[in-house]
Symmetry: C2
Subunit: 317 residues, 2 copies
């Protein structure tokens, strides 16, 4: 079913230990929509500038992404980011950020997007996230991402928006900052008390945790030998997760936790492909069959029998 | 079946954000043997000094640990370590180390331990580890732990010992240092090329990875709200893992990978209890039923159906 994403479309210049790419296609909404497109039709709301190449729009269209909501601003350039990863690919240094047309982004949801059943609010100002929610009156499930900048500088606005979504997807540092709790289990409880029914904590190479009020699930990340570029992995993860949920037609008010577990794994699977090449390049060739295949590999990676042999009692115990 | 551990028995003074304990029972062989005792009879080889309290020996006995190999050196004191954990419990600062009688430890395996089927060489000098292997002629499965100090300072000796064991259990930083590879999958392949059939990479709060030449498994750590003292978690993990293997009677030459997966989970389960209290205190009350119960919780924590619904193909793909 219809999945709406609101976020950034950008140019990224990225350097990793494996090479360098100038002005590749990037942005949270790009990674999200490309990843989600393997599961469900996606509607994109974002802004780009006069320098944005039409080949990127064509690419999104070939992935079945509806780009009617992609606004092209002729008076400015596209959001630009330059970053460099160190040898272990975990630490990333931002070398340059030019918000350009993204600075004045005020998401307008096209009339025929307003019936969207699923909404993902990528990491933008929580006030803008709230304005999107107001424009989509009857969603079945909504989710948002955020970052430390908003947690620190727009906390009241963020908490207002948080209370109105069904699911929060953030990384572990953000979860700790948002809850002001180091222990992740305690942090999760606190964040769920702010309103959302589900919290997904992204832990990069270690996988992700899914929390509800009464349950918890840990999805692995796939142990990869060929990680080329981690840029966009978190957004691709969110895209796979939300795409899976949208495909199911799940309703946040009565969703099966077992299906949410599989959604988290679907996100991990798609993210594991995203990092294998620069930018969204892996998705230029990725086939749906490969996703199903790696999903089964993930199952083998974590599955074990639930029967523990009778535990011994040493004499006297 | 009989499981031999050779390592340290120590006094630890530990400070965590949750409190302070002076001269509690510690040491790799202590945590290992206590944890393993829930699965199989354990034989302990270690050394303590004149200051070692008989109540600790009594405790080990109540856990069914054979302490015949615990040498009491009247001319010195027991290995002492003092450490302090910061607020997140991940970083630990060593404030004081006194090797005392441990400095001249030369493991002598008692005659009636020499038929041990399972051997765990805790983190000691790789030359001493090798001397133990020579004293136990027909083990079914042997494993060792090591640390960065030996990787850096006794690399040739360590590689010689490594080539003679079936399994290596180390943490991720050690795996990277040992293989001189950042990527863990590449590091694992390299370490397995040194000789051992299996590698277990401990990742603390994130769980553990098990590698064979052709398979990989990721076990979660249990998301705990009450982590009090991480000291000894890695050794308790190894104890649960090796205890499980010994209970099975598995032979390294033809062991079922599915059983090894469960052994890794058994290790994670026992480690998750170890951190709930200071020192080995949780094991003073832990019941075998609680282990079986948490094993089932771990299953729920990671299990998901292996069926992915048919993946959509957006129009035109």
């Amino acid at each position: 079913m219809s999945l709406l994403v609101v976020g950034s479309v950008a140019y990224d210049s990225v350097e990793t230990p494996f090479g360098k790419r100038e002005r590749t296609l990037g942005g949270s909404a790009t990674f999200f929509s490309t990843a989600a497109s393997y599961f469900t039709p996606v509607r994109l709301v974002a802004v780009v500038g006069r320098d944005f190449g039409s080949e990127h729009i064509e690419f999104l269209k070939t992935r079945g992404v509806d780009v009617q909501g992609l606004s092209i601003q002729r008076e400015g350039d596209t959001f630009f980011w330059r970053g460099k990863y160190n040898f272990n690919l975990n630490d990333c240094q931002t070398l340059e950020t030019k918000l350009n047309v993204f600075e004045s982004f005020r998401p307008q949801i096209p009339e025929n997007y307003k019936d969207s059943a699923y909404v993902f609010l990528a990491n933008i100002d929580p006030e803008l996230q709230l304005s999107v929610l107001k424009q989509v009156p009857h969603p079945k499930l909504t989710a948002l991402d955020t970052m430390n900048f908003w947690i620190a500088n727009k906390r009241p606005e963020l908490l207002t928006t948080l209370a109105k979504v069904d699911m929060v997807l953030i990384n572990d540092a953000e979860a700790r900052a948002l809850a002001d709790e180091y222990n992740l289990v305690s942090a999760a409880k606190k964040i769920l008390s702010y309103g959302p029914k589900y919290l997904v904590v992204k832990q990069g190479e270690y996988g992700a945790l899914l929390f509800s009020a009464s349950e918890v699930f840990r999805a692995p990340a796939f142990p990869l030998e060929s990680v080329f570029d981690p840029t966009g992995a978190g957004d691709a993860f969110a895209g796979g997760l939300m795409g899976y949920i949208a495909q199911l037609g799940a309703d946040a008010r009565h969703v099966d936790f077992n299906e949410l577990k599989k959604a988290v794994v679907a996100g991990s699977v798609v993210a594991s492909f995203a990092v294998e090449q620069f930018s969204i390049d892996r998705f230029r060739t990725l086939k749906t069959e490969e996703i199903a295949q790696r999903f089964r590999l993930f199952h083998g990676l974590t599955h074990f029998d639930d029967v523990l042999p009778t535990v011994n009692r040493p004499a006297g115990l």
